[in-house]
């Protein structure tokens, strides 16, 4: 059991700094509109390009939490970077823990916006593990894995949004 814990600690230490992936996404109007609707926004800016322009945007902007959904939307297989690192150390570390049971929790989420994400954007995201550690709490082992993804504009290279994601496994 002690060996088990030690090896798990080694696994966590070894993944810090490792890349979690590289992807390319297109921000499209219909998904952004559905997302704004699902978040109960009544703002015309998410629906009407003219309203968006009047508010100072070049195109319809995305709601603030859209970058999280970009992991699932507009990431077309044929346009993914060929130099993307294989696999994701987040799953390498969480997989064996999940196999023993327990619960995965989303602990924290943070976005730093360098400029608004807008419909028509083509963005390149590169992520890495920023921290991974365990601590005991109320007789349970809590495993924390923190990652960060930096999204930049494919054309200009300018930073657009940084997303920080903190995942917890509770034994």
């Amino acid at each position: 059991m002690a060996d088990d814990a030690a090896s798990q600690e080694d696994v966590l230490k070894s993944i810090i700094g490792q890349p979690t992936g590289k992807s390319k996404v297109i921000v499209e109007r219909a998904p952004v509109e559905h997302f704004a609707d699902a978040l109960l926004s009544t703002s015309p800016i998410y629906h009407n390009p003219e309203a968006a322009r009047q508010a100072g945007f070049a195109n319809i902007p995305a709601p603030p939490t859209w970058p999280f959904a970009m992991e699932f939307s507009g990431k077309f297989a044929e346009m993914q970077p060929t130099d993307a690192p294989p696999g994701n150390p987040l799953f390498t570390a969480m997989g064996p823990l999940m196999a023993k049971g327990g619960l995965i929790l989303h602990g924290e989420q943070e976005f730093l916006y360098h400029r608004p994400v807008q419909v028509g954007d083509v963005l390149i995201g590169e992520g890495s593990i920023t921290d991974a550690y365990q601590k005991e709490s109320k007789g349970r082992t809590m495993t924390f894995i923190c990652s960060e993804t930096n999204w930049r504009d494919e054309t200009t290279g300018e930073p657009v949004v940084t997303a920080r994601f903190n995942l917890i496994h509770r034994s």
Partner: protein
């Protein structure tokens, strides 16, 4: 750049944003699942959620963060947020009445930008916090 032309001069420390109140439904969760691509069955499949020991389906944390984000952009204007961070404190459940609370905690100027710091909270009818966090907005 927001639809509401909230200006830096208009905002004072201690000001509170208009409150968004919403009773969470299973339809909200299904809509959010489809819109976000997060089809974890714990958020839409009652049978699977109960088999996993949960009393019912429960809300996506990111739905809560998004709903609070709507209250935030309604106040400071779409496109004006520079930072938004939350900690997911508790699960949300269907039929809970979720309310936003957004308070201005600071005003500062940095690199020529007029920044407003806010604390953001989403809680239920019993005053139980679901999400707690902070945000910064750049205002005209």
């Amino acid at each position: 750049m927001g639809e509401k032309k909230l200006s830096f001069e208009d905002v004072q420390v201690g000001d509170e944003a208009p409150v968004i109140t919403h009773t969470l439904t299973r339809t909200d969760l299904v809509k959010y699942a489809g819109a976000s691509g997060d089809f974890n069955p714990m958020h839409h499949d009652e049978v699977a959620a109960q088999a996993a020991g949960q009393p019912s389906v429960f809300g996506h944390g990111m739905f809560s963060m998004g709903l609070l984000g709507t209250a935030l952009t309604d106040f400071v204007g779409v496109g004006n947020i520079t930072r938004y961070k939350v900690r997911f404190a508790r699960q949300t459940w269907p039929d809970e009445v979720l309310s936003s609370k957004i308070v201005v905690t600071g005003k500062r100027e940095e690199d020529g930008r007029k920044l407003v710091d806010l604390t953001v909270t989403l809680s239920n009818g019993d005053g139980e916090d679901k999400l707690v966090g902070e945000a910064t907005a750049a205002l005209p």
